[in-house]
Subunit: 144 residues, 2 copies
């Protein structure tokens, strides 16, 4: 989560919504990490999770991240949750819960759905306060 948080802080410096993500191998080795790049790439799908998983697939040379864990500072949105199913990650560990935009414990709960083809282990609320505060501070500054 430290590396994901570092990516989130780096995103904030680029004036992106501060979310960071890391893909870990089965042994816990970081394969790829990314921060949000929506503004920089002019691409609303360039969420930290999507970029990190895409990079990890390039690194491993496989479209399947079978034994991998996706670590992310914020509950993934429905797009990223569904992407994690396509990338076949084994586990998602996330920081702050996102009642408005989340897609795992909130909203359409994509991974819980009976049509979801992959069982992904979910661990939410890790260092929740620290992860949430980063986002809160970012949006507080924006509104000033």
């Amino acid at each position: 989560m430290d590396l994901a948080l570092a990516e989130a802080h780096a995103a904030a410096h680029r004036e992106e919504v501060p979310v960071g993500a890391v893909v870990l191998s089965a042994n816990g080795v970081p394969l790829a990490s990314a921060g949000n790049e929506v503004e920089e790439r002019n691409d609303p799908s360039a969420h930290a999770e999507m970029l990190a998983m895409r990079k990890a697939a390039q690194v491993t040379g496989s479209t399947r991240l079978d034994d991998c864990t996706l670590v992310v500072t914020l509950e993934p949105c429905p797009m990223c949750a569904a992407a994690a199913v396509h990338f076949r990650v084994r586990r998602i560990v996330f920081g702050a819960y996102d009642p408005k935009g989340g897609g795992i414990d909130h909203g359409p709960r994509v991974i819980d759905h009976p049509t979801c083809l992959r069982h992904i282990e979910i661990i939410g609320g890790v260092r929740e306060q620290e992860n949430g505060l980063l986002l809160k501070n970012f949006f507080r500054k924006l509104r000033r």
Copy 2:
């Protein structure tokens, strides 16, 4: 839909799952089109819809495809349906329904969900038989 079908056929020739997508401007002018490139890019998120919307955002220079229509040969999966919300497309027109993998009329029904922030008009089942047949034939060949 002709252009989307042409992209789907081109994808089949590249041995990709044959799905094609086009983004149309408010006036019905194609801004971008793409076929599935999952195998070619080694990227399970490289669905036709994602690539077409990403290209359209580059063409228009905006992250919002506000007045645009996404035309796709198959019902979008939950990832692509949720991406269409992020890209703020106005309308999705799709061909064959996808009871197993779809995310609009099936599965988590991402766009219908009360937490979904964008109302997107949906027109499904357009040239359904023709669009479905292309996929059926592709998978039949694979199983041989």
